[in-house]
């Protein structure tokens, strides 16, 4: 694939575009910081989602007027669409924990074949805190992990068993990388789709976890 953007950016775009296909019209969606915020750019025609921001509103949108009080969950300037509603942090997490958020899309440091996810700390190195991530993976109806397939050193981020402290246990539904799309099922991890130009061999090589290949792929 010839592209004019740097390979890493291309990877992120591929991931965001594929995640967008998981969303349905009318879904209430919470997007983690970074890559997940790119997802709305790729929504298919006719699919509109309502973005929830855990710092206290539904109806997150692009910045329209300058308002220092209005930021997204990453602390960046934000806007709201018509029909938005503000509330306090308690109510925000009532929505999240109570299953009123249809989909959460968030990044991961590690994910494993049991649906575990680790994305909130690296002991001794980086301890930012979990923020709202633990509530999101516990409460959202569908948890999509959107991340690059491998670490910068080339190691698989999709493991047999997470090694970092967990954000949630058995909570992940879908994993989207620039290599493939996996679903976590009772039978185990299922490879559902290969991204364009990726071979099954490459996916196997880059994935530590054991996975079943979906019948659709063979």
């Amino acid at each position: 694939m010839v592209t004019l953007v740097p390979p890493q950016m291309a990877a992120k775009q591929i991931i965001a575009a594929r995640v967008a296909k998981e969303l349905k019209n009318g879904d209430v969606v919470n997007l983690g910081i970074g890559l997940p915020t790119m997802v709305p750019n790729y929504l298919p025609e006719g699919v509109n989602v309502i973005l929830q921001s855990e710092n206290g509103y539904v109806g997150l949108g692009p910045v329209t007027v300058e308002d220092p009080d209005l930021v997204n969950a990453g602390g960046q300037p934000a806007g709201v669409i018509p029909g938005a509603a503000f509330f306090d942090s308690g109510f925000s997490f009532e929505l999240i924990r109570g299953g009123h958020v249809d989909v959460t899309v968030l990044g991961g440091l590690e994910v494993d074949e049991h649906g575990n996810i680790a994305n909130w700390m690296v002991p001794g190195k980086m301890v930012p805190g979990m923020g709202g991530a633990m509530d999101l993976v516990t409460g959202a109806k569908k948890v999509i992990v959107a991340m690059e397939h491998c670490t910068k050193k080339g190691g698989s981020k999709i493991l047999e068993q997470c090694t970092l402290p967990l954000t949630g246990k058995g909570v992940v539904d879908v994993i989207v990388t620039e290599i493939a799309v996996f679903r976590v099922t009772k039978e185990g991890l299922v490879l559902e789709e290969l991204q364009e130009g990726v071979t099954l061999e490459e996916a196997k090589e880059k994935t530590e976890a054991t996975f079943i290949v979906s019948p659709n792929l063979v």
């Binding site: 209005l70 805190g129 633990m134 509530d135 516990t138 246990k169």
Partner: protein, 219 residues
């Protein structure tokens, strides 16, 4: 019953070793004038309860940077590197709490509940040292209530009886903390007469508010 106070009166309220809750999310909805008052006072060994430790120079960040705190109970410290540095150096006790659990623990503290039963954190490091309660076959963590001696809050507007309204995402933890502290001090952009905020629009009723100060200090 005008609840406005001067900055001198505010300062007389703070004591060493106090537990102080401060509203805000990465500094948005944080009462900067009140935080600055604590920061410039001699008060030390505070236990700080806040969603995050904000940034080096804004929000509650300076309280950490200037070593006012012995402990912080919070959901996120990633945007203020000094918090992590002090924690790793053993200079500061940091209790990390999932954001929704932090909100519920404060609400429980303010509403007379014995704690909350949440699925958040089950199977993670968050469950360490906590009681697990099974309800109808599913496990929940028993997370205990949080209260403070003083809550420092930010609202958009107060009437003189202390009824509060907030503005956009600056609401966040402020209404919850108004329930859960012995003394509630609110910094506002505007004070209006009683009756100017419609009863249907009040978010925090004045009975929860003890003191009001206008942003920048009362005159």
């Amino acid at each position: 019953m005008d609840k406005s106070i001067t900055m001198e009166e505010v300062l007389s309220i703070f004591k060493d070793e106090m537990t102080i809750m401060v509203g805000g999310f990465m500094g948005v909805g944080t009462p900067e004038t009140l935080v600055s008052a604590v920061d410039q006072s001699d008060v030390k060994d505070i236990t700080l309860i806040a969603n995050d430790t904000a940034f080096i120079e804004t929000g509650v960040g300076p309280l950490v940077v200037n070593k006012k705190c012995k402990k912080v109970i919070t959901s996120h410290i990633g945007t203020n590197p000094e918090t992590g540095r002090q924690m790793i150096a053993g200079e500061l006790d940091v209790e990390l709490v999932p954001q929704g659990t932090l909100a519920e623990r404060i609400r429980a503290g303010g509403s007379g509940l014995g704690g909350i039963l949440t699925p958040t954190g089950v199977g993670t490091a968050v469950e360490e040292g906590k009681e697990k309660i099974k309800v109808d076959g599913r496990e929940y963590l028993l997370e205990k209530p949080l209260r403070a001696d003083v809550a420092l809050l930010k609202a958009f507007k107060a009437d003189k009886a202390g009824n509060l309204v907030y503005h956009s995402s600056a609401r966040n933890f402020n209404p919850l903390m108004a329930m859960a502290a012995d003394t509630v001090i609110v910094e506002v952009e505007h004070i209006v007469e009683v009756g100017e905020i419609a009863p249907d629009e009040v978010i925090t009723p004045g009975i929860l508010v003890d003191k009001i100060i206008v942003q920048g200090g009362n005159h």
